[in-house]
Subunit: 361 residues, 2 copies
């Protein structure tokens, strides 16, 4: 079944392997206990941050393949991207695998982009097993997008902290594990934000747009998920999203949160929270998949957002568009259907969500 | 049917629309008469080359949609990428369409990458119509990857001329036109070339690798195609490819050529020929599709190559890996099958291609 932006997979791709690797600061954050590997220092034994970023991504791919208990030769294709110019972390990581490679760029939405393409590939019946991966590094991102760290610039309150980390997921046609049941492909949305230190505000409208499309296409409401999680809107951006959604008649409750907002502890001084491809990728490939595997999460709407910014565009006076893709992952589809049927009876008698106009309180 | 790297489409995607737009120099080149639009000057009325590149890509997408005689709202998704950091031409072009967007990065292989993903999407039955697009601009590429044009640097003999141009293709589940019948997804291959002025040498090994995989997966030989065309290996790179293939026991004959090599006339002073995402994209969306539509080409193996280089990686002492994806496009599948059957009888009695070792003369 296919809607305008949402596709419902027939042969639902199974997550058979995942891996997350992070830097020391990230390891001390709220998701610390869930990560597979915490680096002792963020250079990872390399002589540049870019090389460290590449090595992390490589490690994540190898880790996910091992977690799936398969061999690299069982993988048909690697779908990966990152924030660096010409996505060098991904291309150079892929060089070390004897596997076909497709390079992606969706900024911090890349984990969802790779999963959406990967799931469609598996469902097309042409692919058996593939890897989706992405990562980012605080120090390589800062010097590419903002200032050299050596300058010691002050960070404004809306700024976010690019996560040093990488995550990888193995999707398979068969096997046991959480399944990807839907994907909603997002549009490029620009509300005119031009502050490179306020990515949350730049990306929130794209999250809203994709979330509205998802609910409209599927007829679902936030109640249908036990977790709705955006990628790296941060504290400010996720508040903006809640407001934007409420304005559109949809109230996001306690089942909504944002990886960037949750990532670091209050005293880690990351201002508006985590960001970067690695932010949602490492949370997804640790905490979220872990909870889905254990059945502690039944159905998750995973929505990483990307700020499609570039120093060149900014210098030429451009605003910053955003993009957001959404993925639905379920722990046990049959069980969830039963829950749905019970819920539907309840929902239709108690409340009705209206779209496109402000909801009455 | 699926092989290791090659997939054979069941519901073969139809090319129902295409468009090419190029700069004035490109318009005077060998493919001049085939392009849909030749710009009067390469700024395209914009105040920066990056903005001109974005506008070209937008024009190509609109042109392809019009050529398909459909409306933008009929398009479900745009698959695009380019050479600029954070693929700003594609992201900012996509902003102006009310359509989902997936950003890609495959350097100059992007036309094939977008077609390969697009064709798989159509074949998955989840997508009806989509656009694949890419482009490049000589002046934005020079200043990003090499030197500011104002420096007036000398160009070494192996250097190539980034094509100013953009191309777009509309793929559809139904309709009339040439069909995409196979795609071979390429690996990242690095033979250790580190000269940013010799992209052809950096990319030729990836073209070889993908071509060998294609022939091995499908059991085909170069004789099965009336045109085998790489993207932008240029004069030098395409000679290297011919040598590499011969070393592997496969002789590429007169049915092999390279878009970059053919692009400009001898007196246009582009040394080793054309390059850039726009090179193969504009040749594909003009000359190649035109000849396929008229039946003057029956079966084409289209193999754009990408040099996954980046100034950051080069400055850190890295070599330049390449990637190449291959697409098979056929004018009339039923007619081609008949030709195959006749050819097979002939081929098996006269010659046999052996793989993996040097062919006896």
């Amino acid at each position: 079944m296919s809607y305008n932006q949402t596709i419902v997979f027939k042969n639902k791709p199974v997550i058979i392997g995942s891996y997350s690797i992070v830097g020391p600061k990230e390891g001390k954050g709220n998701f610390g206990p869930y990560f597979n590997y915490v680096m002792k220092d963020d250079s990872f034994g390399e002589d540049s941050y870019e090389k460290a970023e590449k090595k992390m991504l490589e490690s994540a791919i190898v880790g996910a393949i091992e977690d799936a208990k398969i061999k690299p030769k069982d993988i048909q294709i690697i779908l990966a991207g990152d924030l660096l110019n010409q996505i060098i972390s991904s291309s150079y990581a892929a060089r070390n695998f004897d596997v076909a490679f497709l390079g992606l760029f969706g900024a911090c939405s890349t984990m969802a982009e790779s999963l959406a393409i990967g799931a469609t590939f598996i469902d097309s019946s042409h692919f058996d097993k593939l890897v989706c991966a992405t990562g980012s590094h605080f120090s390589s991102a800062e010097r590419q997008f903002r200032f050299p760290l050596e300058l010691g610039n002050q960070r404004p309150p809306a700024s976010q902290w690019t996560v040093t980390g990488a995550g990888a997921t193995v999707l398979s046609k068969t096997g046991k594990g959480p399944k990807i049941t839907m994907a909603t492909f997002g549009k490029v949305i620009d509300y005119g934000v031009n502050d490179v230190n306020d990515m949350g505000a730049a990306m929130a409208p794209s999250a809203m747009n994709t979330m509205l499309a998802h609910f409209k296409d599927t007829g679902r409401t936030p109640d249908d998920y036990d977790l709705i999680v955006t990628g790296d809107l941060g504290k400010l951006g996720s508040e903006i999203l809640v407001d934007l959604m409420e304005y559109n008649g949809i109230k996001l409750g306690l089942n909504y949160n944002d990886c960037g907002q949750m990532y670091f502890t209050r005293n880690q001084n990351t201002l508006s929270g985590g960001s970067g491809c690695g932010c949602s990728a490492t949370v997804f490939n640790s905490f979220i998949i872990d909870k889905l595997r254990k059945g502690e999460l039944k159905r998750v709407l995973f929505m990483p957002t990307g700020a499609l910014m570039s120093t060149t565009a900014s210098q030429q006076g451009e605003t910053i568009p955003g993009v957001c893709h959404a993925i639905v992952i379920e722990s046990d589809i049959e069980e969830n259907k039963k829950i749905d049927q019970n819920k539907k009876r309840r929902v239709t008698t108690t409340r009705k969500v209206s779209y496109g106009k402000k909801k009455e309180a």
